[in-house]
């Protein structure tokens, strides 16, 4: 690390004492770069064994990396905490302006300890922390309001990040998210509930500075090569044009689009909710994370008439991606785009993770149809595939929790199915709800073992799809080994907080060149070591908190519903999991 690089500065905030201090810890970043690598080491230091995830002892750790502020697409912040949703490792990544703002404020990491006795929000800049009263913001109906208020009340427009929770986080829903820059999220595993448990409503972080480079000429050359690859090569084109929903139609075509709680891999409404259809009929604006030329964030403009008030309309601007479309669209049988977008909007207002919410409601819909629950449980709400109005009502109740049933739903599908039954069609892996792919066995193995983060996303679905294209037969050994190697490399990318969409641009050589110009003399072996060590530490943390590869539940639904990867059984999935576990 260069002598004047502020990356080594870690901001420690104590909410219980309303105090803060900055400590310089260059060795942490020299050894582990940042992001996941530094994050897991700080979590090991800060989080006591068997900590209550919603107690003051659970830390919130944000980390960035050396390439942030230097190169395009180094745009993510890694959050680490103990997850109230799974009870083990909580790791969630978000972009927006969060990473650049933390780096520009002059920190490599922010550690939040303790809990406040009253609602607060924090304003962070290079001078430290201001604790501000958030009691008036607590309980506001829509998460959008918090963003609007802080945007006007605090300075630094353009060079700040505003992270905030909605009411779901205040009410400790175990999959409540943290929203940043309106359209990006620390989505999964319940960081919003951890904020809520600390009465931390929001965090504004702002900064603007220069950063030193080791060699100006090499820096500019490396920069230009990365920039050119990002804007000119086809590697990023799909994210730029249709965005991640480019996946909807191809997945549906091969029967891999989870539909109606994965009763099918094909959705007759796929065309309507596809990336193509949304772009043609609703795309209102594309936006980007700070220092990313790709602009993958797609916003739909939806004009809604007021039913009893002619000439009154409101226009929603709502972010959409593949996963929200799966979770609030095909999984709930919603083929009406306005309906799907309004469900997503309600989820945003509450501040919930859209994937966990959609999968949980899909299970609840089937549970109601099978008579496991009744309308007294649902507080009179009719849950039926294709009925957006019912889902909007249910989303609100996940936050307000008027019945025992909603209190159970507020802890996710694994918990709810343990109480009410229907575990065979409760689509969670290790306690976290599934993402939007049913390509074959490898994706499900990946979700079961994935230590990386929250999306659960991993190389599994591309293994399935590549095997399909090439007519190969996957073996448990091949799946376990390939997933492990890819997971190790992704630890390197997420330690550098590179957007994983850019993994085709940042190959090993490019990463080493970029690091050299930033003053890190690393070689390929150093990268391998960091990847393996970070993965090992993360799995060790999970196991320390009770995770057990052997005890993973495999939902029968993934076996029963045909996937394009062909039939597979539970033994196959377990064998691949065992193989992965043995290699770690």
């Amino acid at each position: 690390m260069l002598p004047h690089d502020p990356l080594k500065r870690i901001l420690y905030i104590d909410l219980s004492r309303r105090s803060f201090e900055v400590r310089e810890r260059p060795e942490l970043f020299d050894e582990s770069l940042g992001g996941s690598g530094v994050g897991i080491r700080l979590l090991e230091e800060e989080c006591p064994v068997n900590a209550d995830p919603l107690g003051p002892e659970n830390p919130i750790i944000f980390t960035v990396g050396p390439l942030v502020g230097l190169y395009p697409l180094a745009s993510k912040t890694v959050a680490m905490f103990k997850s109230p949703h799974t009870g083990n490792l909580g790791e969630s990544h978000a972009g927006g302006r969060s990473a650049v703002s933390i780096r520009m404020a002059g920190y490599g990491a922010v550690v939040i300890r303790g809990a406040s006795v009253m609602p607060v929000y924090l304003v962070i800049d290079e001078d430290g922390v201001r604790f501000r009263d958030a009691s008036a913001l607590w309980g506001t109906r829509s998460s959008y309001t918090t963003g609007s208020v802080l945007r006007v009340r605090e300075g630094g427009s353009g060079t700040r990040s505003i992270m905030r929770i909605g009411r779901a986080g205040e009410r400790l829903v175990s999959y409540a998210c943290v929203i940043t820059e309106t359209y990006r999220h620390f989505g999964r595993l319940g960081l919003g509930a951890v904020f809520g448990s600390k009465q931390l409503k929001a965090l504004v972080i702002e900064g603007k500075r220069t950063l030193p480079v080791a060699d100006r000429r090499a820096f500019r050359q490396t920069y230009d090569a990365i920039y050119k690859a990002a804007v000119d090569s086809p590697l990023m084109q799909k994210y730029h044009e249709l965005g991640t929903p480019i996946n909807v139609l191809p997945l549906d075509a091969i029967g891999a689009l989870p539909t109606r709680n994965l009763q099918s891999g094909r959705f007759e409404g796929a065309e309507a909710i596809s990336g193509e259809s949304l772009a043609a009929n609703y795309l209102g604006r594309r936006v980007a994370c700070a220092h990313c030329p790709v602009a993958c964030i797609h916003l739909a403009a939806l004009r809604i008439p007021y039913p009893n008030d002619p000439y009154f309309y409101k226009t929603l601007m709502l972010g959409y991606d593949h996963e929200p479309i799966f979770a609030a669209g095909s999984m709930l049988g919603l083929d009406s785009v306005p309906g799907m977008l309004q469900v997503m909007d309600e989820i945003e207002m509450q501040g919930l993770d859209v994937m966990s919410t959609g999968v949980t409601l899909a299970w609840a819909t089937e549970a109601l149809a099978r008579g496991l629950i009744n309308e007294a449980d649902t507080d009179g709400v009719t849950l039926a595939f294709g009925d957006a109005a019912g889902y909007i009502e249910a989303v609100q109740r996940i936050t307000t929790q008027p019945t025992d049933f909603y209190r159970a739903l507020a802890r996710g599908v694994e918990h709810a199915a343990t109480i009410y039954g229907g575990r065979s069609f409760a689509l969670a892996f290790g306690g976290n709800e599934m993402p939007g792919y049913h390509t074959g066995p490898a994706c499900h193995v990946g979700w079961s073992v994935g230590a990386r983060h929250s999306h659960l996303d991993n190389a599994g679905y591309s293994l399935d799809q590549n095997a399909l294209k090439k007519g190969q037969t996957l073996t448990p050994e091949f799946i376990g080994e390939t997933l492990l190697n890819e997971e190790r490399w992704r630890q390197v990318l997420t330690s550098l907080v590179l957007c994983l969409f850019a993994r085709g641009i940042y190959d090993r050589e490019t990463v080493l060149g970029a690091l050299a110009a930033a003053g890190f003399a690393w070689d390929a072996e150093d990268l391998e070591r960091l990847g393996a060590e970070t993965l090992r530490r993360k799995i060790a943390f999970k196991q320390r908190e009770g995770f057990d590869f052997g005890a993973l539940r495999i939902p029968q639904r993934i076996i029963e519903t045909p996937s394009p990867g062909g039939p597979f059984d539970e033994a196959f999935v377990r064998e691949a999991i065992t193989h992965f576990a043995g290699l770690v």
Binding site: L70, V100, S157, Y183, T210, Y227
Partner: protein, 135 residues
């Protein structure tokens, strides 16, 4: 002919701030502080973005209020900035209605565009462009 940076179509701006990073990189550093261009949301990202650039006025108010001639009018429009003469009075920042005299908190001096167009080379969506001042 003197050149200036023009905002061609702000509705194509995605808020990536590549221009701000480019402007700082021009000075040999990474980061944002040396940027003479600023991009912020137009009141929440849903409303799009505001791109703040020096429009190279023919009678620049920033130069008129400069007490030390650190800012002087440039022939053909815009200003030249001599940091050695600047006393950091902040008058220029307050005089520019666009907010295009940005402030360098480290050196307590304004950041003034030099009309080089380096930022425009890194705008992937043709939001900004270096062009000759006409009329």
């Amino acid at each position: 002919m003197a050149k200036r940076l023009s905002v061609i179509d702000v509705d194509r701006c995605v808020g990536c701030q590549m221009c701000m990073f480019a402007c700082t990189r021009r000075t040999g550093y990474a980061g944002l502080e040396n940027a003479c261009i600023h991009v912020r949301s137009a009141g929440g990202i849903r409303k799009g973005f505001t791109v703040i650039v020096c429009r190279a006025c023919s009678d620049p108010p920033c130069a008129r209020v400069c007490p030390t001639e650190a800012l002087t009018p440039r022939e053909g429009g815009g200003v030249r900035f001599k940091p050695n003469l600047c006393i950091g009075c902040y008058n220029c920042v307050e005089a520019c209605p666009f907010g295009a005299a940005l402030w360098d908190e480290t050196n307590h001096k304004p950041q003034i565009c030099v009309y080089c167009g380096y930022c425009a080379d890194y705008c992937p969506y043709d939001v900004i462009k270096l062009e000759e001042i006409s009329g």
